[in-house]
Amino acid sequence: MSKQINVALIGNPNTGKTSVFNALTGLNQKVGNYPGITVEKKEGVCKLPRGVKAHIIDLPGTYSLNASSLDENVVIELLLNKNDKDFPDLAVVVSDVENLKRNLLLFTQIKDLEIPTILVINMADRMAYKGISLDLEYLQEHLKTKIALVSTRKNQGIERLKSLISNYKDLSISHNIDLTEIDKDYFKNLQNTFPNQLIYKLWLVITQDVNFGKTDRNEIDAVANFKTKSKSDLKRLQQKETIKRYQFINDVLKKGQTIDAAQAKDLRMKIDRIITHQVWGYVIFFIILLTIFQAIYDWSSIPMDFIDTTFASLSEWTKNQLPQGTFTSLLAEGIIPGLGGIVIFIPQIAFLFLFISVLEESGYMSRVVFLMDRIMRRFGLSGKSIVPLISGTACAIPAIMATRNIENWKERLITILVTPFITCSARLPVYLIIISLVIPEGRFIGLGYQALTLMLLYLIGFGAAVSSAYLLNKVLKIKSKAFFVVEMPNYKLPLLKNVAITVLEKTKSFVFGAGKIILAISIVLWFLASFGPGDDFKNAEEITFKEYASQNISQEEFQQKVASHKLEHSFIGITGRAIEPAIRPLGYDWKIGIAIVSSFAAREVFVGTLATIYSVGSDEEETIKNRMAGEVNPILGGPLFNFASGISLLLFYAFAMQCMSTLAIVKRETNSWKWPILQLTIMTLFAYIVALIAFQLLK
């Protein structure tokens, strides 16, 4: 087997690094996580001439090797760790032709690590538009590198890049900068103490708060303790270092790059006068939001209905085709509906990520962050939290996945923790049926009471999210640098290929990540509802037959009575009875208890479970509603679903954490069970208390 070349793709954010990665690897890529942290790890394979393969890692975008976020830590950890299996044979630094000066800063840092480095100057198609011309020979000579002028949009320069990669052994590894010039005494002393180490590597270890993996640990610890300067002195040195790098870059670019200002056009400034305007900016944002809502609610309901009916009939078909038995039942009532429960989220997730990736690729998202930052900051959130909070009205799962854009870990964690309060689409069926039962149909200044209640519930959800963010911000003691610097990149037309790959990747990671857990839980639920201890469950048919022998009921009705009896004495039914004392003060009976327990798999199960319990054959809303309206409270008398218990239920569903899939995703995104368990306990406890107070006050 021929040796693989390890290539690290490095670059500033917004340089089109991912486009270069996609151009090199096509669909030969996989997305995972770095062990122990939730930073995405993108890898791919690129076929080079003569049968050589390049293993390419798309490292998180970073402005420099001085890390300020988890994502950026990944970059230096890899570059400093020669024993890592992914340690690059060469680095490809991707830069944007319009921001060459700033992009070269990172390039000079990588060069100082003596890693063979290729410079990609991307977005070459914009050179004429911006009046930029480059003297590539001069730049290659003075930057001591090979340059590939690339345009992923026009598909130019990729072949040259590939041939440069396969000839990486010709690349120079000499420095651009002499670090010792910044402070001769200090750096000479450092080098003399650790004569076998690279000076820049030593310097990075001293200045970074990074956990440097397992390699040459002892030596590195010793370096980190080389503290002959105070923190502020070190920072001053870093500033000097940065100035020095820019001096070098300015000198090189003075000859290597000419910008004809007369030819340069700046559309960005003109667009941003409107897009980020104090009034129009918000109006435009609002219109875009409405469109996204529309798509997620309306457009995705068509494929979702289709999926729903397909899986229902598939389940029916399985039941009819296979011989009766436990296996068939498991397949038809456990596995198939479980799979359906995963697949049904795909349209919403795909739509959401389609919009998010278009907004990001185009550069608009940074403007939203700019517009919303001040408002969100009051609640311990960041401008960047707005995207997940909006997405949460569709479904908390993709919303929590969307928090990855927030670099500040504390702000990201708070956003993850409060997003489930937002009224998601799964709460809607529960709200609708209860509202129609307990809220009168009257009108208040032209608006129906029922519609107002629904709107109020949305506001309550948003209010709960924002106020718990405020509290979490006060309570959580997490050290994370809270500064806020957002680049406003140039507007770009999104590349179809990039958008498609993002949508595909995110959807896939949902289906295989959370999907496994949803499936497992549906199987457990099926088991709990299909089996029960004792004779009551085993002899359900006989008992029901005796009970209804005198009455004239149809075969179909009889079967439903049997199912209802079985459910009552199944494990889940017993659970419902067991928790009845706890939920009675909230105004619920054991049947609602079962519905609540099964709702912990997913809220929308509530209506279906009640339908089964009340042995109503069809899921039609009217029928269940009538049946529910007729239920009598066993203790207090009067209708079970009255204003007090209805409001109590609504509030319980508004606050309780009843979604296994969300918990699974939170576990995956935070890499710890601590946060999902905390969410489950606190939200549910809060829901219980609020529902209790509401019922006791209103009854």
Partner: protein, 74 residues
Amino acid sequence: MEDTLANIKRGERCIITDVSSIHIPLKLLEMGCLPGNYVELVQVAPFHDPMYLNINGTHLAIRKETAMHILIKK
């Protein structure tokens, strides 16, 4: 006339004279916020915060609290 960046007005083009390295994240320096470079205000959000700036050709937004630690002259 010296002033802090928090007080820059739209359309003005100023030169950065000093940055307080203790209060300013290194990242901002690395993005070009260094003495000698020019800075221009593109847009402000309500309450003058955050501020959308063009520093040495890099377009970025920072919070007002950060801008207060950067000195400029006209």
